[in-house]
């Protein structure tokens, strides 16, 4: 294909976008005002070109994180135990650990090497450890561990940051998922090599040794990675299922129907123009990988994994104890019904809903509306901010509305910040 033909093809593809009327100027002005209101003078300073990437982390810290009276600067009660937030300014080489209640800065962090920026981040189940990818200027990817150490007298914790030794991903690699195990000695990542090939890797967090690397091949890894309490790594990939009207669901799989009809079952419908009856189906296959089994180079993810028959349904992010999977959906718009984690898109239409599925039965245990269509503004994050280890306690935000959901029961809360949509673009939608 010559350059002219390719340019023409780009032009045709882009024509509807280039000629699209811009949204009313007031929309931009409102967003700008929201930014200024949220970040104050800092957002308008010379360092304003930042995107706030945040993972709500929190609690425990050896008992130092007693529920704070400072919680809830607003008129609502605060959720208990929530204390610290990892904040990464993803467009600049700065990150912070902040008190989520007051916004006070516990520590300001810089990447472990010069001319490096922070990338995707993950939090451990104890919320004492953050693992963050770093992007040096040469295009490679390295990692650093940020540990929150409880003070002996129960005072303010200290923060220690150190590079994960020896782990350097080739230039151009994109890390698309990152998780830390509960023992905080391993981490797994899904990455896309410069050639476009996806792979799954598990590393020793302490010494950086590679425990296993499996090419994903043609597998479509579709749900967030999750370490189970026993140390196994839970993965989910999609396979094409027969298009006939098939109601049987195999053990360890979840059918993903592309029909645009609104349904309690998960859907990956992005085909509004297609005929529902002829729409292809995807089937999600739950598998587990045991990183303790020695990895043999050349082995495959299929060969080295086992069906996970204990998980009857996994859509969204798995709770730390593996008992629940949690997903966010925009109820009347099947095109956005399944998200990769706990956030809701901005396509509009319908209320935002969080669904919690029991891993044991596959049934939806709670279906909790967290916001109306008018709350999904695009400017503010909509979805799960934080969840307890058993998944029964959630902190959610949709637009400017923040809530705590305990066993399906909703209470309005107010955190120090209302998280912008950009706050969760570089991190897992929520961290444990």
């Amino acid at each position: 294909m010559n350059n002219t033909k390719l340019r023409r093809q780009f032009d045709e593809w882009a024509a509807p976008l280039r000629s699209a009327p811009p949204p009313p100027f007031e929309t931009i002005r409102r967003r700008a005002r929201l930014r200024l209101g949220r970040f104050g003078a800092a957002a308008a300073s010379a360092a304003a070109v930042i995107a706030l990437a945040a993972v709500l982390a929190v609690t425990s810290l050896g008992g130092t994180a007693s529920p704070s009276a400072a919680w809830g600067a607003g008129p609502y009660p605060a959720p208990p135990g929530m204390q610290y937030v990892y904040v990464s300014f993803s467009l600049g080489p700065t990150a912070q650990i902040r008190n989520a209640a007051t916004g006070a800065v516990l520590a300001t962090l810089r990447p472990t090497a010069q001319t490096t920026t922070f990338g995707v981040a993950a939090a451990s189940a104890t919320d004492r450890l953050f693992l963050v990818a770093e992007n040096p200027a040469n295009g490679t990817v390295t990692f650093a561990a940020i540990r929150l150490l409880a003070a002996a007298n129960g005072g303010t914790p200290s923060v220690r940051m150190a590079p994960v030794p020896h782990v350097v991903l080739p230039a151009g690699t994109q890390v698309t998922d990152l998780v830390v195990n509960q023992a905080e000695n391993r981490f797994a990542l899904e990455s896309q090599a410069p050639g476009g090939k996806l792979s799954l890797s598990v590393y020793n967090l302490l010494n950086g040794s590679l425990i296993g690397r499996w090419p994903a091949g043609s597998l479509q890894l579709t749900q967030p990675l999750a370490f189970l309490p026993n140390g196994n790594l839970a993965v989910v990939w999609a396979v094409n299922a027969p298009t006939s009207s098939q109601s049987h669901v195999q053990e360890g799989t979840t059918q993903v129907n592309r029909s645009p009809s609104v349904s309690a079952s998960p859907s990956v419908s992005n085909s509004p123009a297609g005929s529902p009856s002829a729409a292809p189906r995807l089937e999600l296959v739950n598998r587990i990988v045991n990183p303790a089994i020695p990895f043999l180079p050349g082995s495959s993810l299929v060969a080295d994994s086992q069906p996970d028959t204990a998980l009857h349904r996994r859509i969204g992010t798995l709770s730390a104890d593996g008992s629940m999977s949690i997903s966010a959906a925009q109820a009347s718009n099947p095109a956005t019904q399944v998200t990769s984690g706990g956030s809701v898109g901005i396509q509009g239409g319908g209320k935002a809903t969080i669904t919690e599925y029991s891993s044991a039965t596959g049934e939806a245990v709670y279906v909790v509306p967290i916001g109306a269509a008018s709350d999904i503004t695009g400017a503010h994050y909509c979805g799960v901010l934080w969840a307890s280890a058993d998944g029964r306690d959630l902190l959610t935000q949709c637009g400017t509305k923040q809530e705590e959901v305990v066993d399906g029961k909703v209470t309005a809360v107010r955190l120090a910040w209302i998280f912008p949509t950009s706050a969760v673009q570089s991190v897992s939608p929520f961290a444990w």
Binding site: L6, Q9, S90, L91, P194, V268, Q425
Partner: protein, 169 residues
């Protein structure tokens, strides 16, 4: 600072579509592209008093949008991977839904490219920037940009050839 500055409005209306197209080439979906583009312009408005003095404020917006798009792309990559696979299963007679750019052969092919190639292709073909300007904006040597552009074209062609209806449109 956030007053309805006429010159910003003019700048915004003139450059929104072009920026949107560029961002869409990176993130794949129209809704995500609109969110990123609006965010970039909101940031520009917040500091317009400074930017208005720039010779090329559009370059500033482009840079911000590019970075935001990369972050958004990371977040959506997993979901995109599934959707991109589905693109090949769509009957060729189906009309392309206006808000699902990633279903188009070019959109699907772009989404499969590594970011560094997609970035230079988008800047060259959608933002209409010459190689030397791309090199300056990405802080890369021009030779590297040419190499990535060549590799991107080649990989794009390979992927488009898997969608015969796209070739020779």
């Amino acid at each position: 600072m956030l007053g309805s500055s006429d010159d910003f409005r003019e700048f915004y209306e003139a450059s929104y579509g072009r920026t949107l197209a560029m961002v869409a080439g990176l993130v794949g979906g129209r809704a995500e592209a609109e969110d990123v583009t609006q965010e970039a312009f909101a940031r520009a408005l917040a500091r317009w008093s400074l930017l208005r003095g720039y010779e090329r404020p559009d370059a500033w917006v482009r840079k911000v949008a590019l970075r935001l798009a990369i972050d958004t792309g990371r977040r959506h990559r997993r979901r995109l991977a599934t959707v991109v696979r589905l693109a090949g299963q769509r009957p060729p007679t189906d009309a392309e839904p206006a808000d699902d750019l990633r279903f188009s052969p070019l959109g699907a092919a772009l989404a499969e490219l590594p970011l560094r190639e997609r970035q230079v292709l988008v800047l060259h073909y959608l933002a209409d920037l010459p190689v030397d300007v791309i090199a300056r904006e990405l802080s890369l040597p021009p030779g590297t940009v040419k190499t990535r552009l060549g590799a991107g074209r080649r990989h794009l062609e390979e992927r488009l050839s898997q969608h015969p209806e796209a070739v020779g449109q």
